[in-house]
Structure formats: structure tokens, C-alpha cells
Symmetry: C2
Subunit: 225 residues, 2 copies
């Protein structure tokens, strides 16, 4: 594929669920890319120049043209490399995929970020409750499909990598029982299917490292309470 021989770079940081979304999309398409690991405490000139607005990873650079925001990047990848479609072709199904991806960012990732980084017990409970309700909506939405995208991985699955891989680690660190097979049997089954998918498996960060990172975060926050 000609497009594969183009200049494709991903500025990322191992352990970021947003970077991981882009990696899954690229692997699904079979696009060769150069992964440039960023040190987020000392960001590269290329990162600052490519994403002057947010100064965050991921930044995707295709033939010198930079794009930020993980879901925007995933849609760009899907529109640029047409094989193995990530979004459905039907406009209504596309709208639903965009709706649920945004829902995951707003309601699941947003709440989780808050309960990781809060030491206020009451505040944490409120955020956990919000995540719980959001997961219930996703459990219902999944129905009996293998993936949110149907038989194949789609946009919502990619957005939900945070739920499949990050939430179980974070809840273990915090001693929560939020996302379990008893509470969310369909979503749990999906998460196992998803993280064991050959494409997803090869881009997930090492679980031990991620666990150690969040544990250290949590301990340092608790100590400074």
C-alpha cells in the first residue's frame, strides 16, 4: 500500500490510554509508523510545535501535517486508509459510534480521572457512582454483540480501551469493586475479548508498569492528604 510508505509519526507516551487508541487504529489498518516517546516532564520541541494548543500527546503527524485529539486522529486514520473500516458506512450508525465515543470520554474517562486524583472520600464516591451509571449504559448498549462495532473492532471499542485495560488496574490500586463480571457481565466479557484481540494485545502497555505508576500516584496523593 503506497500510503504505508509515507511519513507517519506518532508522538506518544507509553501508558496513555489516548495514545493507545491511536496505536490500535494504526495496527488495525496495518500502517507502519514511527513511535516517538515523549518525556512529559520535558516535552520535545516537535510536540510543542505540533500541538501548541494543548501541548499533549497523542499527536499524529502524517507527511508533516500534525493532528491532535485521539478520537479526531482515529477518524482521520479511518478516512485516509480505507481498509478494515473503523467507523460504519451508514450515517446513522456513524452518528451512534460518535455519540458513544464522546460519552466514554465525558462520562467514564472524565469521572475516573477525578477519582484517581482526589483524596476527598465523598468526592471520590460521587465520581465512582457517575462511572458506575455510565458503565451501565454501555452494558445495555453492547447487547449481545461481540464488539461495540459488531463482529469487528470499531470506534467505540477503541475509545473504550480505557475501560477494558485501565479501569481494572485503577480499581485494584484504589481497592474498588466497580467494574466486575458480576456487575457488568456483558461489558466484562467484551473487555476480555478486546484486550486479547491480537491487534490490541500488541499495543497495550505492560500491566505491571501501569499498576506501579498508579500505585505510586495514589500513595503520594494519600501521603499529602
Amino acid at each position: 500500500m503506497a500510503a504505508n510508505q509515507e511519513d507517519v509519526k506518532l508522538l506518544g507516551a507509553t501508558g496513555s490510554p489516548f495514545v493507545c487508541r491511536v496505536q490500535i487504529a494504526l495496527k488495525l489498518k496495518g500502517v507502519q509508523y514511527k513511535f516517538l516517546e515523549e518525556n512529559l516532564r520535558n516535552k520535545s520541541e516537535l510536540l510543542l510545535k505540533s500541538n501548541p494548543v494543548h501541548k499533549k500527546v497523542p499527536v499524529f503527524i502524517h507527511n508533516e501535517k500534525p493532528i491532535a485529539e485521539s478520537l479526531v486522529i482515529v477518524e482521520y486514520i479511518d478516512e485516509t486508509w480505507k481498509n478494515n473500516p473503523i467507523l460504519p458506512s451508514d450515517p446513522y450508525q456513524r452518528a451512534l459510534a460518535r455519540f458513544w465515543s464522546k460519552f466514554i470520554d465525558d462520562k467514564v474517562v472524565g469521572a475516573a480521572w477525578k477519582y484517581i486524583y482526589t483524596v476527598d472520600e465523598k468526592e471520590r464516591e460521587k465520581n465512582v457512582e457517575e462511572s458506575y451509571e455510565a458503565l451501565q449504559f454501555l452494558e445495555n448498549e453492547l447487547k449481545d454483540k461481540k464488539f461495540f462495532g459488531g463482529e469487528e473492532i470499531g470506534l467505540v471499542d477503541i475509545a473504550a480501551v480505557f475501560i477494558a485495560f485501565w479501569i481494572p488496574i485503577i480499581q485494584e490500586v484504589l481497592g474498588l469493586k466497580l467494574f466486575t463480571s458480576e456487575k457488568f457481565p456483558k461489558l466484562y466479557k467484551w473487555s476480555q475479548e478486546f484486550i486479547n484481540h491480537p491487534v490490541v494485545k500488541q499495543v497495550l502497555p505492560p500491566r505491571d508498569q501501569l499498576f506501579a505508576f498508579y500505585k505510586a500516584c495514589h500513595e503520594s496523593l494519600s501521603a499529602s492528604k
Copy 2:
């Protein structure tokens, strides 16, 4: 156009910038639709059934199929009625349009909502400052284009209706001088061009009513301080 004879409904509330986005898109396309005004203190069964997740307007219903989230709806409209394109055809330009629309929601609308509904002076200043920085990015992005979309109104213009029409009203109520022609000459010029566009003009809510609404909001918040 056959699509125009289909069943197209918009559940909305006069005065909502999010609903207004969808109205602009529909008018640009020349799509006939039925506007169903919602009483947000006593939501209709149809709204609750069509948007069980957020229970908010706008909800767009096309041939019985509901879609929520204003920007998701605008993209759906653009994919369904192909005349007068709202998103560019080039994937990179599409990605930029999505990036800036999301930026407006996250950084401008998000911050403005906070400074309308806060009585804490310090908190308000912080949020106004955040809006100010965001507007500066948009001023730079606009360059010397007539619209963000170029010669025609596009996704970013539609997303930015909040800046063109709502922010001037809100800042007048709050006595702020945030978005002025001196501080943001390009963006200000754009806003005048945009709100006087024949399509936009016919869907903007009455300025006096909106002003009275935010004034009452502000006074009631200040009184309960």
C-alpha cells in the same frame, strides 16, 4: 429533494446555542423540519425516550431514529444531505474542523458556563481568563478567512455560534469586556459577518429575550450569594 419529504424533527428549546447549531445546519441544507419546543422543567416523553442518556436537547429525529449531541447531529446532517457541504472533503481539513469544534466546546463553552453560574469572584476570573486564552487561539486560527470554513460557513463556524451571539450577551449581563473588537479584531469581524448571514439570522433567538433570561439568572445567583 426526496430527503426533504422524510420525517425530520428537532426537539429543542429556544435560547439553546446547541439547538441553534442544528438549526443552522438544517437551514444551510434547506431541509424542512418540525421544531418541537421542549419545556425543560417538564420534559416530554419523546425527549426522555429519545435521549435516555443525557435527557437534553437538541435531539434530532430522522425517520424515527434519534440522535443526540449537537456536533454529532451536524455531522449526520452533513453526511445525509450532501448539498452545501459543512465539513471539507479533504481528510486533513476535516480533522482540523473537528479539532477546533471540540476545542470550542471544551475551552470556550465549558469556561463560559462556569463563569455564568459561579458567584465566586476568583473562580469567575479564572474562567474568564481561560476563555480569553481560547479566543486568542481562535483569533489566530481564523487568519484572514471570511469564515472558519473559508468562503462558506462550516463546522467550526456553526460550533462557534456561541461565541458570536451568546458571549456578547453574557458579557453585557456580567459587565465583562472579554470579547471586543479591540481585543479580537478578526474574530469580532467574523462574528458580525456570521450573525448577519441570511441563514444564521433567521434561526438566532430574540436577543432581548436571551438578555433578560441571563440577567434574571445572574440576579438570582447574586441574591443567593
